[in-house]
Structures are given as C-alpha cells and as structure tokens.
C-alpha cells in the first residue's frame, strides 16, 4: 500500500513538474552550451564562483576541461576553487601537476599560495583611509618597538591590524601547509601519473569528441 502511494505521488510529481522541468532542462542546455566554448565556460564558472556557487563552478570547469583539456585558465581556476571548498590537498595536487612552462611559474606560485592560506570572503570595498586625528599627547605612551602594532617589527610603519582571519597562519610557505592536522601535503613528491603522462603520445583530437 505504501509503495502504491509513493509510486502514485511520484507519478503526480513527475506530471506536475513536467512544464517546470522542460523549462529547467532548457536552462541546463544553456549551461552546457556555455561550456562548449572555452571562454564563455570559464566566464560562467567565474560568475558562479562570484556568487559562492563553487561546486557549480567546479562542475562548469570540468566540462570546459573535458572539451578543452589544454585550457590553462580552466585548470588554474579548478585547482583554486577546490581549495576554496577546503579541498586544499586536491587543489595542491592539481597544481603540482602543472608544468611551469605552460602555466607560468608565477601563476603556479600564486595558486599554491592561495591554496595554502584560508580563504577570506571578499568584503565591501573598504573606505578610503582617513587620517586619524593625532592622539592626545597624554595618551602617547612610549612602548618598546617590539610591542607596538602587534609586535611587528619591520622597519616600516605598519597599519593597525584589520580583522585578520581568526586562524590565519603566521606564515605560509609552499610545502608546509597541512590538511586537517595530520597529513602534510608534499608539493615535491612526484605523482604516480607523471611518468605515464609524460609517456603519452600527443592526443589524437580528431575523433571522439561529440560536442
């Protein structure tokens, strides 16, 4: 009896939802059309990420990467977006697969750096710094340099700390970040697929692709 009810309900749902589904299916086509072109696909992923839909953005990029496996933009963004969803190990592994000659050493370093520190949600543009009135002389207390402004000693004036991420690492260096405490991510360990990847013949792009 219960199964009958469930089946009936599902049938009704399916029928009632048909028009909406048709509309949504058209929307799905529109999304997949976007990724039939590398540039529009990457732009779509950027738009999705811009509104926080990172899983959707990753899916979009994977469509782009499937159709355009040589897409540097898609692969860079895919790695960084993995880190954005806190899969830093996955992101760093993808970065470790990137050839400096193809992706640019600075891009790779930048991506690795972004993956190695907690992401800070973008905030509204900060207002232009306004010069604070000089403090009252009586409040000026001579402090040892090492204790001023959070103890930073750089030889230059440092701004007052502005809401740093609560768990931001003191310093981020390639290869020293750890995932969930126990497993250190090695940027230098050669992946197993390197040899197979390097031994692959240039891909025959003449066949197979359907879209």
């Amino acid at each position: 009896m219960r199964n009958i009810h469930i089946a009936a309900c599902l049938s009704v749902i399916a029928m009632l939802s048909a028009p909406a589904s048709a509309q949504s299916l058209a929307e799905l086509d529109r999304l997949s059309d976007l990724t039939a072109n590398e540039e529009t696909g990457v732009a779509a992923a950027q738009e999705q990420a811009g509104r926080g839909a990172y899983l959707e953005a990753l899916s979009t990029l994977e469509r782009v990467m499937a159709a355009f496996p040589e897409s540097v933009s898609a692969r860079l963004l895919h790695a960084v977006y993995l880190c954005r969803i806190d899969d830093r190990q996955g992101g760093l592994v993808e970065i470790s697969q990137m050839d400096e000659d193809l992706f640019g050493a600075a891009n790779i370093a930048d991506a690795r750096d972004r993956c190695s520190r907690p992401y800070v949600e973008p905030q509204a543009p900060a207002p232009a710094p306004v010069a604070r009135p000089d403090p009252e002389p009586i409040e000026t207390v001579a402090l040892p340099p090492s204790t001023a402004a959070g103890g930073t000693v750089s030889g230059k004036e440092q701004p007052a700390p502005v809401a740093p991420p609560p768990d931001a690492p003191a310093a981020t260096t390639a290869g020293t970040n750890s995932i969930s405490g126990s497993n250190a991510i090695s940027d230098t360990a050669p992946p197993r697929s390197s040899s197979s990847s390097s031994s692959q013949q240039p891909e025959d792009t003449s066949g197979g692709e359907k879209d």
Binding site: M1, I4, H5, L10, S11, I13, A14, A18, S21, L28, S32, A36, A49, G50, Y54, L58, S59, E62, M65, A66, P69, E70, L76, L82, I85, D86, D87, R88, Q89, G90, Q97, M98, D99, D101, G104, A105, A106, N107, A109, D110, D113, R114, R117, Y119, V120, S154, A171, T173, A189, P191, R192, S194, S196, S197, S198, Q200, P202, G208, E209, D211
Partner: protein, 344 residues
Amino acid sequence: MRTPNRLVAALTATTMLASNLAAAPALAQQRTEVGAASVVIGDVEFREQQDARARQLERRDRIAWGNYIASASNSQAQLLLLDRSTFSIGERTRLRIDEYVYDPAEGRSAVVTVLRGALRFFSGSNEGNNTADVNAPAGRIGIRGTAIDILAGEVAEEVGEDEPFIDNMRNVDSDEDEATLVVLRGPGAQTAGGLTVGLAEVTSAGVTVVLDEPGLAAYIPRAGVPPIGPFRISDAGLVEIQNEIQPRVARAGGGGGGGILGALIPIAVGAVALGVLLSNDDDDNVAPPNIDTGNNCDRGYYRGDNGQCIAENPNQPPTASVPDPRPTAPPTEDAETPPRSPIG
C-alpha cells in the same frame, strides 16, 4: 467506523493504482527526464534501460530514470541534473540512474548505481534537504552536500591497494569487480561560499564509515566485508582518481612535458593570469595578484585587468613568498642583489 475507513482507503488505493497503471504507459513514453548530458567526449553508450539497444550519447540528450550509461577508454561525460548537481563519468565507467526526485522547495533525492569505473558527484542547489545515494558493487554511499569521488571495480582495486594505509594492512583481499573506493572532496569546514559541509556515509556488511573532512577515504575490498577507513587519501591516489575522471586532461599533459600542450607554450604563458581570473571573487584584500605575462611589473606593482602596472596597497602587509622553483640564473656581477621574489 473502521470498515468505512478501510473501504475508503481501499477505494483510494484502487483508484490511485488504476490511475497509476493507466498513466504508466504514458509515463513510459513520456519518460521522467531528470537532466541532460552536458558534455560527452569519446565513446559513451546510452540506453533507456539496461537491456535496451545502446546508442551513442550526445550532448543535450535527456537523461531519465532507468537510463544506463557506459563509457569507453579515454572517454568521459557529465550529466547535469535539474538541481544542477552533476555526475562526472570517467573512462570505462558504467552507471545507472535509478531514481531522482527534485522539488526546488523541498530539495533533491537521487539514487544511482555505479557498476564500475570512476564517478564524481558535485551537489547542486544548496536549498532544501538534499540527499543522494550511490549503490556500488560492494556497498552503499549516502552523501550530503558533497563533492565526492567514487571508484568501483578494477580501478578501485588498483588505486585502493596502492594506498599506503591499505598496503600496510597487508591481508586485504580485494575483488577486482567489487572493490569500491570513496573519497570525500569537500566542502570542508573552511569552505568559501557558505556551502553545506560535505559528508558521506560508506556502508557495507552493516558497518558504516563516515567521511566528514575533505581527503578522507574509505575502501571496501569486496562485497560482504566492512569498509576500511576512514583514512587520508594520498596525493598519488588523488592524481590517479583525477586521471580516471578527466582522462583527456591527463593525456593533455602539464605534468612533465609531452602532450598536445607542447605547441601552446608561448600562448599559454601569455594568455592567462590567475589574479585576473580570480578578480571576480578574489581575496586580494589578503594578497595582491601575481601576474606572469612574460613581462612582469616591477616589485611593488601588479598588473591590472587592462595590463597596466598598479602599485600595491602601501598598507598591505607583506605576504608569504613562495620561492620560484625555476632554475635560478647564473650569478652575475650583481650577485649581491637579493633575489627578486616572484610575488610582484
């Protein structure tokens, strides 16, 4: 009082059954379409039912309940479902869509069966109560708000038994048809975008292993034995999984020379700048973008969207520098000059 109620219930059930049966042929013809093929690369077979005649899957093909999809070597596809969840199907993979119900207000439930190969699931809409279950040869995976990778069969055995955690157990007897490897990819507790933190429950032989952090994995060697885990997947294991799910990217190279990218080097380096790519959602309030256009700005400047060099925020505290792994130039007469950081 109970008899009329029973009668009403029976009549209702009969009516609904009759309606359902009457509607069944129409529904069978109409199909319950739940998504579309959003990308298809290579040879990917598509059947309405498992025993039906197969045909090549094409992009924009509609996906419905009961559909059976099988990919060949160096082939892949992605199914985009109504709630914008996706199943990425790797090479040599067989998958069946068992059930999918989506109500934008209530959420989504999906049940699929992966018979072998590599599967990646990305959850779509964050609204409502969203669940998905994946039946694998040796167990069942319940997933919530998740990015997850699943390997089944021979490839799971290969990758799973190469994992140091599994290898150290020594007496793991895997079945090449039933082995199942599950890796949670996210979102983790520190995810951006306020996404639901991912969770997967891997169940076999009455035992459930919970994966609740990105990178945690569970391995079921064969049907009838409990899952092993959770353990942290190795970097090498992740590479193997990625290569199964994105075989074309693996073949394109980027990890050691060769491949079709070789001819694109000059274009590739000059064509992209990560800082610009990320300008839409960037965290540049923490660090300035780094541009590698082959013509970097001087230290203290970065390249803007229009290519101009822009002074960094003078109030920007110095960020960690990552050493440039490129071979350094031979020392010159100016060797006392400190090396320039690649971070502009």
